[in-house]
Homo-oligomer: 120 residues x 2
């Protein structure tokens, strides 16, 4: 009846990159697992902060004036309106937390825009 | 300038149980690290869901009609208004996510009510 959400088990169920899968909701926020590798596009989220928690691997978030590197067991909150570009040399598995409806590319659009609200 | 939040480093800085420490904010939500051991009290949060992510160890969340066990790499969202009692046989380290201002004991109060908005 009450079932834990296990990140490893959920992550084993997909392999594509930059395509977030929703695993839980808290009020109007969603928890999304995503596998990333390579470079994403520059974008921001005008209306909301966005949280990255690294589950496995290492990634960087580039900003126009700096960068932060995150490894498993680390998190970072990107303030709303701040342009950023996620980058991962090797595959990295992360948990995103952001309001339901937030697009992975913000207002930028383009081919890296993932389908929203895809549950796993 | 941009600094990752490392859970292990933050957890090393306190040792008391049931006393959440805020490590980050996302919009009007807070991320709180907490060490738990033993039994908490029955309570609910009338206005909000509450998220538990286990960082290290194992815990259970008891409900009036069941329970869920969580270990590291697992999460659970407790729906608002649902009575629950967190329990951990051995020390367990968890990340809570909930709106800023949420009390650890809901409206129950009592000696286990922690000071709110304590940052580390």
């Amino acid at each position: 009846m009450y079932q834990a959400i296990n990140f490893e088990q959920k992550l084993a169920r997909f392999s594509d990159h930059w395509a977030p899968r929703v695993v839980a909701e808290m009020n109007d926020y969603q928890f999304k697992l995503v596998k990333i590798q390579g470079e994403f596009i520059w974008h921001d989220h005008k209306e909301t902060d966005e949280t990255f928690i690294v589950i496995d691997g290492e990634m960087s978030i580039e900003f126009r004036d700096g960068a932060v590197t995150l490894k498993d067991g680390e998190m970072f909150v990107i303030p709303k309106g701040v342009e950023h570009k996620p980058v991962a040399k090797h595959e990295c598995k992360i948990l995103l937390i952001e309001p339901k409806g937030t697009s992975n590319t913000g207002d930028e659009g383009g081919e890296m825009t993932a389908k929203n609200d895809v549950w796993i």
